[in-house]
């Protein structure tokens, strides 16, 4: 029955019935079958249990994306622990904070990161055990590390995880400056994976891309959906992931059939990937999530890749994907407004409320709230933030407040308006910064646009547009102001236009608004 099994169960079953099938491909480093991945993760499970990991514990993963890291995910899950993946490129102090915050019992770490991480841990009363891998790639690093200590662990058997046990904790940037841990249970994860099965119909012949890093919630689909269905997942290394030319080659060479990423890299692929020069005929699904896909880049992409179906997926880490919309192709030339985020996924429920928590009339703006099996258990050891994140209805059902303002544009289908906290008042008018961005994106020379607001003594709020251009020659200030005046109300025209070669990005490849705010 759906949902009563642990997250790793379907993978284990596939490994038993079709052990010879390819599970994970790591271009340049090798590939691993379901049978071998199952055995490698069993050995890690045994080692983790020998190190004291018990059901309900946490295991940290401080690894670059690799077969080793996928095996570590399953090893941790089989031991009954929740896995806590961190960005190995993030500052060691931040990662140490995360590991200490949720008191992981063991950290599986690459030797390259060990010294700096240990230095951050010094003075800690109960530091975690470190399981050090000399290197990662193809699963060899983990295999060797376990080999060295072979014989020390007995077969522990896979823990009997309950649906409510935590499967993973993903840390997201908190508004206070400290990362906060979003706790997701096995049932949260399985309900989402099952929804993906229902909508995307994965088959064993599919080859999924894994573009997002493992500390990003897109990775849940990338890893756990293909491995539920006997399909393969192709891991894309960080440096390749930023290079549209190499990515376009990889999609062809690895016969990718399901692509999932943030829109930003798809925009780059459309513009610089030389897509028409490759055979991408296996591609049947293009999924994107994480931010608004500028329509002009989406149109270009759909023109170059006319065959696949396109889905706009929406949802915060706290719920994973909670609404979805299939984009009909081709994208009409005259369309400029972004596509809807669509309707609520079948394993969830949604409602739109005003500031007081009352449901608004259809067609009115409000905050989207989500309830159901996919919704997180809370933030790790932050009961007050967790309580603030939810709205309890009369029956005591917790609704997660997404902080996103939407409007029900058609029955059951939502249009994204912007962040609740990206709504500013200017000269008495309510201004949605995202709407200014959408206007700026209509300029043919604008490649990226991000708008931030600062309090201003004179004007109340000062609006700055950060932009990058398609060409070296940037449009003049006069040109930009006139362009905006033709598309936006005058009170929405930015006060400043700040041009850059590229806008700063977060580790998950989204535009880094925090940095932009600091830049003024």
């Amino acid at each position: 029955m759906n949902g009563t099994r642990p997250l790793h169960q379907s993978f284990v079953e596939t490994a038993a019935s079709r052990p010879e099938r390819l599970a994970v491909v790591e271009p340049g480093s090798g590939a691993i079958t379901y049978g071998d991945l199952d055995r490698l993760s069993d050995r890690l499970r045994d080692r983790l249990v020998a190190l004291g990991v018990r059901r309900g514990d946490r295991v940290g993963l401080y690894l670059r994306k690799s077969i080793d890291a996928v095996a570590a995910i399953y090893g941790a899950l089989k031991s009954g622990a929740a896995y806590v993946p961190v960005d190995p490129g993030a500052p060691p102090a931040r990662n140490a904070y995360i590991m200490q915050n949720c008191s992981v019992r063991v950290v599986v770490i690459e030797a390259a990161f060990e010294a700096a991480f240990r230095a951050e841990l010094s003075g800690e009363r109960a530091p975690p055990e470190l399981l050090v891998l000399s290197d990662v790639g193809g699963g060899c690093g983990l295999d060797r590390a376990l080999e060295r200590i072979a014989g020390s662990a007995e077969t522990a058997g896979t823990a009997a995880s309950a649906p409510g046990d935590l499967a993973y904790i993903l840390y997201t940037s908190g508004s206070t400056g400290k990362p906060k841990g979003v706790m997701l249970s096995h049932d949260n994860a399985v309900s989402f994976v099952d929804w993906c099965s229902e909508v995307f119909g994965p088959v064993a012949d599919d080859r999924f891309s894994s573009h997002a890093p493992f500390h990003f919630d897109l990775s849940i689909l990338d890893i756990h959906v293909p491995l539920k269905h006997g399909a393969a997942v192709v891991l894309i290394a960080e440096d390749t992931g930023k290079d549209p030319q190499r990515l376009a080659q990889l999609v062809a060479a690895e016969n990718i059939s399901v692509w999932y990423s943030a829109p930003s890299i798809l925009s780059l692929l459309a513009q610089y990937g030389n897509l028409s020069g490759h055979d991408h005929s296996r591609l049947r699904l293009v999924l994107f999530a994480g931010e608004v896909f500028p329509v002009k880049h989406l149109r270009t992409l759909c023109g170059l890749w006319p065959e696949p179906r396109y889905f706009n997926l929406y949802g915060p880490t706290e719920t994973n994907v909670c609404t979805f919309h299939e984009v009909p192709t081709p994208v009409p030339d005259e369309r400029t407004e972004p596509y809807p985020i669509g309707r609520v996924c079948s394993h969830l429920a949604g409602k739109v409320v005003d500031e007081t928590g009352r449901i608004v009339a259809p067609g009115e703006e409000g905050e989207l709230c989500i309830a159901g099996r996919g919704v997180m258990q809370g933030y790790w050891s932050l009961p007050e933030q967790t309580a603030r994140g939810f709205l309890l209805d009369r029956d005591g059902v917790p609704w997660y407040r997404t902080g996103d303002v939407v409007v029900e544009s058609m029955p059951g289908s939502y249009l994204y308006r912007g962040r609740r906290d990206r709504m500013v008042k200017r000269r008495g008018y309510r201004v949605e910064l995202g709407e200014i961005e959408a206007g700026l994106y209509q300029h043919p020379k604008v490649k990226e646009a991000a708008v931030v607001a600062h309090p201003d003594e004179e004007a109340g709020v000062r609006i700055t547009a950060f932009l990058s251009a398609i060409e070296v020659k940037r449009p003049s200030l006069i040109e930009m102001k006139r362009f905006c005046s033709e598309r936006l109300p005058l009170y929405m025209i930015p006060d400043r236009f700040s041009w850059h070669d590229a806008l700063p990005k977060t580790s998950t490849d989204k535009i880094d608004y925090q940095r932009l705010k600091e830049m003024g």
């Binding site: 000269r427 004007a459 006069i478 005058l490 006060d495």
Partner: protein
Amino acid sequence: MDDNIRTELKEFILKEFLPGEDLRDLTDDLPLISGGILDSIATLKLILHLEERYRITLEAHEADKSHLDTIDRIAGLVEAKVKSRAS
């Protein structure tokens, strides 16, 4: 006289509201208010500047698009005011 006003006006607008822009882009018929270049606060600053610089007074009904939208119109308005002051 007319050309002087235009040149001075352009220099003022460039310095105050369009730093770094090319003087040649600021043409005599460029829509300043309806084109989003001068917002309401900038328009007020422009009016204060005109009143001070040319020792004229703008009536409330003149502080709008139909009188101030282009360099041409502003120069025309200022010129008329200066003339009526002299007579």
